[in-house]
């Protein structure tokens, strides 16, 4: 699936601002806050599921039970059981852990490499900027999922490879967004003033500019999480991510394909888990962007 960060991101263009009544403005604010709150609440639920997976899950996610194969959802098995009699609800709960682990690791990799690259090329310009920008252009030309698969075949299958691959394919977007945030920020008077009184570039970047570019970076990170989860599940679906018997949403959906006719719930629930988590991250990212953009708040 062509899950790309820029396809997740809105364009953030200014909106029409005339002929707007007071009630409408209030309604708008409420909707913005509501979507943001909804996103955060959903994320918190997923985080709780990941942290307390062993306490919440009623069954062992990896233990087969051949007496209850492919049972439809019931009060004992909320989401039914799979072809090996394993409780799907427990597997979905435990799958949260793997998705979070891979997403956190890959977003960290992308931030640690991509953000400095973008900030440096945005602040200094010149040759450094040309080189980094050309490299980012070239990296953008590669379809993310194909690149991820190629990178994964260097290290072989598994969670760690997936973390590295997804982290690396997200670097260009992180570099591009932080570069443009830096360019728009460095022209401010406070930067000129800091430079005039002889502050070092690292002081200006770390003490001044970074704090002010935190907004776009936070939005980038939350949308980066959505990107990471979609790609992680796609890689697991192709059999490259977390390996059985550990419960991973993508791998479980792949395994369920054979039983799609007689036991559709095998694929429905892990899929819904992905949809809700990615939706929550997108809602949060959108909400953050609207809340942090002063141009939008003032209207």
């Amino acid at each position: 699936m062509p899950a790309t960060l820029s396809s997740v991101a809105d364009t953030g263009l200014p909106h029409r601002h005339h002929r707007k009544s007071q009630t409408r403005r209030l309604l708008e604010g409420a909707i913005k806050w509501k979507t943001f709150t909804l996103g955060v609440v959903l994320i918190v639920i997923f985080v709780i599921a990941a942290v307390f997976a062993s306490q919440i899950a009623p069954f062992d996610p990896a233990k087969p039970d051949f007496k209850s194969l492919k049972q439809s959802p019931s009060l004992t098995h909320y989401f039914g059981t799979d072809d090996k009699g394993r409780d799907i609800f427990s597997r979905v709960i435990h799958g949260t852990r793997i998705s979070f682990a891979i997403a956190i690791a890959s977003v960290s990799i992308a931030s640690l490499i991509g953000l400095p690259l973008g900030l440096v090329s945005g602040y200094f310009g010149g040759i450094a900027d040309s080189i980094i920008s050309r490299l980012v252009d070239a990296l953008f030309a590669f379809p993310p999922i194909l690149m991820a698969i190629s990178i994964m075949s260097i290290r072989g299958k598994g969670e760690l490879s997936a973390m590295i691959a997804i982290g690396l394919i997200a670097i260009p977007e992180f570099a591009r967004v932080s570069r443009s945030a830096m360019i728009s920020e460095k022209e401010n008077d406070y930067v000129l003033a800091a430079r005039a009184i002889g502050c070092t570039p690292s002081h200006i970047i770390f003490k001044g500019i970074l704090r002010n570019t935190l907004g776009p970076v936070l939005v980038l990170i939350s949308l980066g999480f959505a990107f990471a989860i979609l790609n992680e599940t796609a890689l697991s679906f192709l059999g490259l991510g977390a390996q059985p018997p550990s419960s991973s949403w993508g791998a479980d959906i792949a395994a369920s394909r054979r039983y799609i006719r007689d036991a559709p719930w095998l694929s429905i629930f892990p899929g819904l888990a992905i949809v809700f988590l990615v939706l929550a991250l997108n809602l949060t990212g959108d909400g953050l962007r609207d809340l942090m953009d002063p141009r939008r708040n003032r209207r």
Binding site: P2, D10, H15, R16, M147, S150, S267, I274
Partner: protein
């Protein structure tokens, strides 16, 4: 105009060199040797060593890159280590399938995005807007492979409207061909409709805030005239760029969908080649797709500059 196109093409040359370098480097890092793959079951260390020498695989990496790049520039992408067919032949066979899928998906996405984006902008903060933006957000949040499986279950297994998988060329049987392609294209199209709807929505909202719209209204033009001949025409210019960029992503991004539906496109081919360690094919496919992405972006820029002449002067250098 011609000078603008030439300038854009010139700018692409260093990027293309970088792309070729990255492709070569990544594939070169993958463990396992082409010689071992070619020998298959009968590979012994001695045989692998002899064949590696014959193929020039024992030379240092920069030398091998130079030789490979030379071949590529002459239009030779090498041959598959497994089927021994030229990579160009394989790519030439797979590319039309992927183009068919992506253009079909793009068509579906545009049919959804233009009305949805326009309605949600002009009826801002209404129920219709909420419905359209929710749909767009859902489209972005649903994993394609999962949606594909649900579609196959519903339309293939349950309702039996379409075949479950496989590919029929449109030249063979057009109706059957569309039937095999409709589900993959719909899956991809729904995903694509998400960003396009959001893009058009902000674009229309911005256009509506321009003074010429106010002037058009003040002149007493009907809302419909204002919308179609003033607002939409202006809003569609940036929309074209968004469509082009998304189309570029789709070319390779279709890989997972092609795998689900076993469509013999470039994505499916690349995934298989990586699994089989068929390195020349991996290098060839990724290089062709990345170059295609770059060329589409240039084409989009050129179209954009035709639609909006200010670009030719202003944006060329950056």
């Amino acid at each position: 105009m011609a000078s603008y196109i030439i300038r854009r093409l010139m700018q692409a040359i260093p990027t293309l060199f970088l792309i070729s370098g990255i492709v070569f480097l990544v594939v070169d890092f993958i463990p396992g040797s082409t010689a071992a793959v070619m020998l298959g079951q009968g590979a012994t260390p001695e045989k692998v060593a002899i064949l590696s020498k014959q193929l020039g695989l024992d030379r240092p990496m920069p030398v091998r890159y130079g030789i490979w790049l030379g071949d590529v520039l002459r239009g030779d992408l090498g041959e598959s280590s497994i089927s021994r067919q030229p990579v160009w032949t394989l790519v030439g066979r797979a590319l039309p399938v992927t183009l068919y899928l992506t253009l079909f998906a793009l068509f579906i996405a545009i049919i959804i995005a233009i009305p949805a984006g326009t309605i949600s902008a002009i009826k801002r903060n209404s129920w219709a807007d909420l419905l359209c933006t929710t749909f767009a957000l859902l489209g972005l949040s649903i994993p394609g492979f999962w949606l594909a499986i649900q579609f196959v279950y519903l339309f293939g297994a349950k309702l039996q409207w379409v075949p479950l998988q496989g590919y029929i060329s449109p030249r063979e049987d057009f109706v059957e061909s569309v039937k095999t392609m409709i589900l993959p294209a719909l899956t991809l199209g729904i995903f694509l409709a998400g960003p396009l709807t959001r893009y058009l929505r902000s674009s229309v909202l911005q256009t509506l805030s321009y003074e010429f719209v106010l002037v058009a209204r003040a002149k007493g033009l009907s809302e419909r005239r204002v919308l179609f001949s003033h607002t939409l025409r202006t809003s569609l210019i940036p929309f074209v760029t968004a469509v082009g960029i998304q189309f570029g992503y789709l070319l390779g991004g279709a890989a997972v969908i092609e795998t689900v539906f076993t469509l013999p496109g470039v994505g499916y081919m690349a995934v298989n080649a990586i699994n089989d360690r068929d390195f020349p094919v991996v290098q060839g496919v990724v290089l062709v797709v990345a170059t295609g992405f770059l060329l589409i972006n240039i084409l989009v820029d050129v179209i954009y500059s035709i639609l909006d002449p200010r670009i030719r002067v202003g944006r060329g250098g950056s």
